[in-house]
Symmetry: C2
Subunit: 303 residues, 2 copies
C-alpha cells in the first residue's frame, strides 16, 4: 500500500567520485523522494496506518513537510508546531501542503510542551514522533528493502534520532540481506556514538549546533536504540569541515544537490577512507532540502 | 554493446514543480550520466564504432570530457582542441580522463582550423564532430529509446547543434513512439528556430553570447537538419531570464543541479505554459556541469 505513494530511491554511479575517493561507492539518494527527503516514507506510512483523522507533530524540518504532504494526499488534518524563528521557506513549504502551522516562541514554551497542550485540546489527534515510532521505522524499512537488491558490503547511513538507520536495518534484514550498516553522525552531535560505547542512551546536553540540522536531535529514540544496539558495530563521528566538504564533492563530482545531513555518509568515508578499501559501499543521502544561503556559503567555502 | 557503457537516464517526478507549473511534467535528467551530460552516449558510441585508434575533436565543453572518458575506457588515444581561455576546471576534467589537450589562441587560429592542421599531421585519426555525425545521432538515440517507454504526449529537448534532438527523434520513432518532440533554444541563439521558418539552415552571425553554453553553436549540423525539418513543428525561443529562472526552479522545487543549457526545456514551458495544459510532458535535462561561479550568480539572482 505504502509503495503506491512513495517514489523508488535513486542509485547513482558517479565515476568521478569513485576515482577521487579510490573507493567503490554508490550513491543512494532520497533527495528526489516526495518532499525532498526520506521522511516522506515514514510520514506517509504513519498517516496510512493510524486511524486518526488528525495528526499532530513538532518539526522545523523535513518531517513536518513530509507529514503535511502525506496528510494532504490521504485527506487527513495535519498540525505542525514550529518555532517562530524557523525559516520562512520551511514554514511556507509546510503550509503549501495544506497543514496548519502553530508558531511558538521557544523562549516561552518548548515544542513538545506545546504539542502536549494542543493534544489535550484535541484528544482525537495522533501525536507523531519524527523518529521514535514503529510506523516511522516500518516506513523507512521500504528504503532498506530497495537497498537490499544491490548487495552492498557496507551501507553508511546518517544518524539523527535513529529512525532512518533502524528502518534500513529492518528492511535489509527482512530481505535476508547481511550488508553491514554503519552510522554517520556529526562530531558535534555524537550522542549515538557515545550511547553505543556506553551501552545505553546518552543524551546531548542541549540541541547541538551542527550544520547537519537533521541530526540536531537530543537523543536516539527508544525504539531505534533497541535496533541500533543489537545491529550496529560502528558509528563514525564526522567533523563539520568534512560534512561541508562532502556537500561540495557531491556538487562537483556528481551533480548532486544534498543537504548537510545527507552528506554525513560521504563525510564518514572521507574521514576513514582506509577502512573502506576494496568494499562495495552504499552511501545513503537522506535529503536535499538545504537553504539557499547555507548552500551558497558551503560552495563558497565559507563554512 | 553501447548499453554496457552508458547509465540509464533518471526520471524524476517532482510534485512541487508540477504544482508550481500546474502541469504534468516529468524530468528526464542526464546530469548523472557519465561525465555529467548526455554527450557520453554520443562520444562512447562514436569511439566504439570507428576503427581508428586516435580520435581528434574540438570542444570546450561536455563533448570533450565525454570523448576523453570514452577513449579512456576503450583504450584509444584522444586529442581535444580547446581555447586557452577555457576554464581550468574544464581543461583539467578533460586531462583527468587521460586525453591530450591542445590549447589554442582563438585570436590567431580557429578551433576547426587547428583540428584540420592536426589531422594532416596524424592522418590515422578520426575527426569527430560533437553533433554532426551519424554515430553521435545513433548514440543519442539510446536516450530516445529509454524515453519511449514513458509514452509522453510531448518531449521538450534543448537544441544546440541538434545532435540530441535528432537522436531522441530517431530513438522514439525506432521504438514506434509517436510522442511530439519540441525544441527549446535560447532566444539569443535562435538559428534553429530561424532555420525551421526559412526551410533551410540559417547560421548565427557569430558565436551567440547566451548563458546556455551548450547552445553557442553557429548552426545546426547538416545531418541533424534533415531529421529536424521533417519531424519538428515547433522550436520555442527562451529568453535568458527564463533559462536562469528554470535553473532556480530545479534547485528549489526538485533538488536538481542543472546547467543552463539543461534548463532550456523547462524555460520553454515557463514561456508557453498555456500550450502545455493537460498534456503529459517530458522535460529533457541535457547535463549538469555548470561552473560554480555561474551557479552562484544564478542562485543569487544576479543573472
Amino acid at each position: 500500500m505504502l509503495n503506491n505513494f512513495i517514489l523508488p530511491t535513486v542509485f547513482i554511479e558517479s565515476d568521478r567520485l569513485k576515482e577521487f575517493l579510490g573507493l567503490d561507492v554508490t550513491i543512494i539518494t532520497e533527495t528526489f523522494q516526495h518532499t525532498g527527503s526520506f521522511k516522506f516514507r515514514a510520514a506517509c506510512n504513519l498517516a496510512l496506518k493510524v486511524p486518526n483523522e488528525t495528526i499532530l507533530t513538532a518539526s522545523s524540518g523535513n518531517f513536518g513537510q513530509a507529514l503535511a504532504k502525506a496528510c494532504k494526499i490521504l485527506d487527513k488534518k495535519c498540525i505542525v508546531v514550529m518555532p517562530k524563528t524557523s525559516s520562512r521557506v520551511k514554514i511556507e513549504a509546510v503550509r503549501s501542503y495544506g497543514a496548519k502551522v502553530e508558531l511558538i516562541d521557544t523562549n516561552k514554551i518548548s515544542r513538545n510542551e506545546r504539542v502536549l497542550e494542543l493534544s489535550r485540546t484535541m484528544p482525537e489527534a495522533y501525536v507523531a514522533s519524527a523518529y521514535d515510532d514503529a510506523f516511522v521505522v516500518e516506513g523507512n524499512a521500504t528504503l532498506g528493502k530497495e537497498i537490499s537488491q544491490k548487495n552492498f558490503d557496507v551501507v553508511i547511513v546518517p544518524i539523527g534520532g535513529g529512525g532512518l538507520i533502524s528502518g534500513i536495518i529492518k528492511g535489509l534484514r527482512d530481505s535476508n540481506c547481511a550488508s553491514e550498516v554503519i552510522g554517520a553522525e556529526p562530531s558535534l552531535a555524537n550522542d549515538a556514538a557515545m550511547s553505543l560505547k556506553a551501552g545505553q542512551i546518552i543524551k546531548n546536553p542541549k540541541e547541538p549546533k551542527t550544520i547537519a540540522d537533521g541530526a540536531r536531535t537530543i537523543s536516539l529514540g527508544n525504539l531505534n536504540w533497541e535496533i541500533i544496539k543489537s545491529e550496529i558495530k560502528k558509528i563514525i563521528e564526522v567533523p563539520e569541515t568534512m560534512i561541508t566538504e562532502a556537500v561540495r564533492h557531491y556538487f562537483y563530482f556528481s551533480n548532486l544537490k544534498v543537504e548537510p545531513t545527507g552528506a554525513l555518509s560521504l563525510g564518514a568515508v572521507i574521514k576513514e577512507k582506509e577502512n573502506f578499501k576494496g568494499r562495495k559501499i552504499g552511501l545513503v543521502v537522506s535529503g536535499g532540502n538545504v537553504d539557499r544561503d547555507v548552500y551558497l556559503k558551503i560552495l563558497n567555502e565559507e563554512i
